[in-house]
């Protein structure tokens, strides 16, 4: 402790002030709990799968693998939250729609095809278009008709799964080509789950977009004050609309992974309740759910924290229908900590006990 108290305080302030603080703290907390309980949690082993290809396995790989869809959705959800100050609750249903469209193209309308009716890339592009159309529909209601995002997206939330079933005439086709399953599992010869690469690709794309375009700035401007951003020459309607379309694209990528995992989907349960996890990821990332400033990386990290939590709970044999209750506790803690009154109180407390900062942390 050679530093002066003053310096310490500013360092501490900076640390707590950083948006990545909460998700990293949560991640560390979970890691420590698991380390104490069972150090084997962090073991990663190299084995082979039933197709005879080398694969890595272990809890950490599982977290990276199963957290992928959520990580991708968190990207779009962050933008929607920042721009519109509301959330899209239809992403689970839209995954069902995009996935169903993908199945329809791949299987050509028959439930048990023997070969692919169209190349995978075509099916994926169709799914992207469908996902973006759904996003555009939501975006139009929110941006043009000024409906509250949660109410606007309630429409697809309610109707989406029925539309998904209708696309495939209520049938559940199964994709016959084992190559299609690579997206949700492993490419032969590469022991890292393919989903990890898909997430990395998405992160690179959004990083480039945020760096080389004004999307991030404009989105924040619209979220903070719509009128003043309009006076400064930004079109808030378009920015909001765009954020929903981008989310639609994220949904299509997530749908690709979901469909690929089992080569089929069940419309009524696919990606069930994933919208709540995606919103929670944004909140965990320390982003204000009322819009405005955002930190993309904190949201993505938040998504993996949620998966970390889910995997940990499964490991402790918590009843899976009780998982939601544990997540609810996390939400309550987050909401309480981000409430202005609690923040003020914490600030005062920090000032008082600045030297003994460890206890506060």
């Amino acid at each position: 402790m050679s530093k002066t108290a003053n310096k310490d305080e500013s360092f501490f302030k900076k640390l707590v002030g950083n948006q990545l603080f909460i998700p990293i703290l949560a991640l560390l907390l979970l890691a420590v709990i698991n380390l104490i309980n069972d150090p084997g949690f962090f073991k990663i082993t190299l084995g082979t799968n039933n197709a005879g290809n080398p694969v890595l396995s272990g809890y950490l790989v599982t977290i990276l693998d199963y957290g992928s869809e959520l990580g991708i959705l968190a990207i779009g959800m962050t933008l929607v939250t920042a721009a519109s100050g509301g959330q899209d609750i239809s992403v689970g249903a839209t995954i069902a729609i995009a996935g169903s469209a993908m199945l329809r193209v791949l299987c050509g309308g028959t439930s048990r095809p023997t070969e692919l009716a169209a190349p995978i890339i075509v099916a994926f592009l169709v799914a992207c278009v469908v996902g973006m159309l759904c996003g555009a529909f939501n975006g139009m209601l929110v941006a043009v008709f000024k409906i509250q995002p949660m109410i606007a997206t309630l429409i697809l939330f309610t109707a989406g799964r029925s539309i998904a079933a209708w696309i495939n005439n209520n049938e559940l086709p199964i994709v016959p080509d084992p190559k299609f399953a690579y997206f949700g599992s492993f490419i032969p010869g590469i022991p890292v789950p393919t989903t990890v690469f898909i997430v990395i690709a998405c992160i690179i794309v959004i990083a480039l977009v945020l760096k080389f375009t004004n999307l991030g700035l404009y989105t924040q401007a619209v979220g903070i004050n719509e009128n003043s951003s309009r006076l400064n020459g930004i079109n808030p309607t378009f920015i909001k609309f765009l954020s929903f379309v981008i989310l639609g694209l994220c949904v299509a990528v997530a749908a690709l992974i979901k469909v690929s995992r089992l080569s089929t989907i069940n419309y009524s349960v696919i990606a069930k309740d994933i919208e709540m996890d995606a919103i929670l990821a944004v909140a965990l990332g320390g982003n204000a759910l009322s819009g405005g400033k955002f930190n993309m990386w904190a949201s993505i990290l938040g998504a993996y924290v949620i998966q970390f939590l889910t995997t940990t709970l499964y490991k402790f044999n918590v009843q899976s229908d009780a998982l939601a209750a544990y997540k609810a506790v996390v939400v309550i803690v987050l909401v309480v900590f981000s409430a202005p009154t609690v923040r003020d109180y914490m600030k005062q407390l920090t000032k008082k006990v600045a030297p003994a900062k460890k206890e506060v942390a």
Partner: protein, 362 residues
């Protein structure tokens, strides 16, 4: 202000029409609703009569009571056909039976919500149907509406699901015996003669009749036998992805297991995906025994390929039983028993044939 109001009205109209086409009660009253719906909704509803014509599940053998102009009016209340493969097959079977060619004037209402089903039932009673066929979403809350039905002379037949009401309120109930399904499966498993049974038990939605019946037999056996252990017992809520994660968690923990007892085919499929990724062999004569329920066609094909070991049937084809009951009642006969339990089978991968797959696959 005017514009705002107008846009709100337009948007809510859009919302309503879409919602109507989607989750809720799809009342197929041909005359009234069709005109007001959006194109998407129209296509959904038009697709249904088309399905009536094209369903080939049941050969069109019963052309007997056609014509005579005197159609029997039935109102059918069912759960949403999108719920599962079981429900889709069930709905297709009913539609193949209850149509004009077979002497029925049938109306269908679908909902997964009890209150919407009750509203639909009241509508059918006002419509003066002769028979009300009911697969209730929930067991409670049906007494008063069934009393209304009785007062109006509407005969009620329950199918697929029972309700908590006085048996005098309905003519018959045609159900699957879920407990028996579970017993058959557990008996089969016991017959495999393993030294030790380390079971991953993946349950359906907790509290549903299927879950209770299928879990009950296994739980009893595990309690009774020292060599039967549950490695984990979790609900995956009929969801393949959840089942995959549950099994993945057990694999990651390194706990040994040799049986996967999943309460439907979807969950078994999810479990098998986790096994495949981890390089654990499964099927006939392999490391892990895989058991599922519902007899989806693709699941029976997995059995045929010996990748899975057992699949229990849950018979969705109640229409012919109902038809028989209605014929008996119409001709003035009486039913010998109130509760009719359907025949159900369990398939073993070592004995299943292609014929079984074609005949019993849904």
């Amino acid at each position: 202000m005017k514009r705002k109001v107008l846009s709100m009205v337009m948007a809510s109209a859009m919302a309503l029409s879409l919602v109507a086409c989607g989750g809720g009660a799809k009342q197929e009253a041909p005359a009234e609703s069709a005109a007001t719906e959006t194109p998407a909704a129209e296509e959904t509803t038009t697709e249904e009569p088309a399905a009536e014509e094209t369903t080939t599940e049941e050969p069109a053998a019963e052309e007997t009571t056609a014509a005579s102009g005197d159609l029997i009016k039935v109102g059918i209340i069912n759960n949403d056909p999108n719920e599962s493969g079981y429900r889709t097959a069930n709905d297709a079977d009913l539609k193949a039976m209850f149509n004009e060619a077979n002497g029925y004037d049938a109306k269908f209402a679908y909902s997964l919500k009890n209150d919407e089903q009750i509203t639909a039932a009241q509508g059918f009673i006002q419509d003066e149907v002769d028979y009300l066929l009911l697969s209730a979403a929930d067991t409670a809350g049906w007494d008063s509406v069934l009393q209304d039905a009785q007062a109006a002379g509407v005969k009620v037949i329950l199918f697929d699901r029972t309700i908590d009401a006085d048996p005098s309120l309905y003519e018959a109930s045609i159900v699957s015996d879920m407990a028996k399904e579970g017993e058959m499966a557990v008996e089969w498993l016991a017959g495999q003669g393993l030294d030790e049974y380390n079971i991953i038990h993946i349950q359906g939605v907790m509290g549903s009749a299927a879950q209770q019946g299928r879990s009950g037999a296994l739980s009893d056996k595990v309690d009774a036998e020292a060599s039967w252990n549950l490695v984990t017992q979790q609900t995956a809520e009929w969801n393949a992805e959840k089942a995959q994660q549950i099994v993945q968690s057990v694999i990651d923990a390194g706990t040994p297991f040799n049986v996967i007892y999943a309460e439907n085919d979807d969950m078994a499929k999810g479990a098998v995906a986790a096994l495949d990724a981890a390089g654990i062999s499964h099927g006939v004569g392999k490391d892990v025994i895989v058991m599922g329920y519902d007899c989806n066609k693709w699941a029976l094909e997995e059995l045929l390929a010996q990748n899975w070991n057992y699949d229990g049937q849950c018979n969705p084809f109640q229409a012919s039983y109902i038809d028989e009951i209605i014929k008996t009642l119409e001709s003035g006969g009486t039913l010998s028993e109130k509760t009719i339990i359907m025949d159900e089978k369990g398939f073993d991968a070592t004995t299943i044939t292609q014929d079984d797959v074609d005949k019993y696959g849904i």
